[in-house]
Symmetry: C2
Subunit: 271 residues, 2 copies
């Protein structure tokens, strides 16, 4: 593979829902995508869409920039530090963009490991529901070396609006985990509001019009209020959200910051 | 006073900040305002602005519609049921519009007392900071007899946007007290967010841009975030807010609804 080809290629580890939408956007922008996933069917889908399915994880490092977006800390650690992983495979100067929601502590640890090899880690956390991913309107907060950000900014712009927020790799993940905690609290407040007003004879649609659309417009409050109205069970916590909340509380503990409401929600598994 | 004069007059009990701004708007709209307050200086100010200062509370009932906006339940109870109060003074068909934030239980109790005299109570709760009052952009949620609302709607339109939300006098106060609880929770979440991100090297202005202006735009989140940035001590609870939260939790208890986060904030006196 020539250097010119390498520069227009991107490696992609993790072809789940978000990863496969990203692959689609990169391919549509004229880039080559070398992707890897544990699941053969995900690789087949990538190849069918015009991408290159890597047989081994290390092959994605034929691109100078590799994005990983896998489920959690364990998965991200495995594809980075494990056998056949990115740390071994990336060339000096290579950039690993971590787009999964991982703990700030792991972002720091992996960044140090990459730097020791002359590689760079850029933490890039994403806000946006699947529809925002489909329409390339993700908000992407990045932290890590400014030079690495400058190199990947055009790539991330294909997915939405990237922004560099600081030198420390943990920072993008602090923003992500706090944003998710604000979202969880929103969902619990919506549940308390709807139950309270319903008991007073005010139905959900009217409650949304009176309090949410007026005082709390915007994607999270109005969006989740409508989802609750359509299906109250959609407001329950899921494992990925619980993981993000644990990451938030662990980071707060490490930094010596008390988060009373977020801790209360965690202790009571709310919403 | 002729009937024609009475119809274009409005009684106003409570000439504090909100009451005096309301008097100003009513006078500017060409209405006569007969006002009363415990404080002689508030009465002098009303007279200086073209209103009529009542020497005794009962005189405000020369108007067929009387608005009361006093500090709390005790104050509203006193001007309604006390000696020389509105219950005695209002004629049959007279309308008492309660614009203070009172407990849903008191709204129900006073409505029953008025109905027993052939009078009507309309609960009208207000959202909007002082600037919104000045610019006549208050959101006014009303509950009680639809006929009483129809009669006072033109009057309330002078202050902002009124809306009738139901027959039960408690309903407007349920909306108000829950709205305030959502605001208190917002302020606490902003405090937790700012402290957490600051510890990670992300300053308040950047935090607001990344999480609030994107995911939580709107008057409450963006407004209070800016107030916190300008002066973190402005985010502390005040007695009036504590009173509103107690009203919310008492109403929830009466209705058999659990509000875990609002209760937690109350027990820990947060924010």
């Amino acid at each position: 593979m020539s250097t010119a080809q390498s520069r227009s290629a991107v490696g992609l580890v993790g072809l789940g829902h978000m990863g496969s939408v990203m692959a689609h956007h990169f391919l549509a922008s004229g880039r080559e995508v070398v992707g890897w996933d544990r699941r053969p069917e995900a690789l087949q889908e990538l190849a069918a869409g015009g991408g290159t399915a890597a047989e081994k994880l290390a092959e994605v490092a034929s691109a100078r920039v590799v994005i990983s977006i896998v489920f959690d800390d364990d998965g991200t650690r495995a594809v980075t530090l494990g056998a056949d992983g990115l740390l071994e495979a990336l060339p000096p100067g290579g950039i690993h963009v971590v787009m999964a929601s991982v703990s700030p502590a792991l972002a720091r640890e992996l960044a140090a490991a990459h730097e020791a090899r002359g590689q760079h880690l850029l933490a890039a956390s994403v806000f946006g529901r699947p529809e925002a991913a489909e329409s390339a309107e993700l908000l992407i907060n990045c932290s890590g070396p400014a030079s690495a950000y400058a190199e990947v900014e055009p790539l991330l712009s294909v997915l939405g609006t990237p922004r560099w927020i600081g030198d420390e790799p943990a920072q993008a993940m602090l923003v992500k985990t706090m944003g998710n905690s604000l979202i969880h609290t929103t969902v619990e407040m919506l549940r308390e509001m709807f139950r309270f007003l319903k008991a007073g004879g005010i139905d959900e649609q009217l409650a949304k019009e009176l309090l949410i659309d007026t005082l709390f417009p915007g994607p999270i409050y109005s969006g989740y209020a409508q989802r609750y109205i359509d299906d109250p069970s959609s407001a329950a916590m899921i494992d990925m959200a619980r993981k993000d909340r644990r990451n938030c509380l662990e980071a707060a503990h490490e930094m010596g910051v008390d988060l009373p409401v977020i801790r209360f929600l965690g202790e009571h598994d709310l919403p």
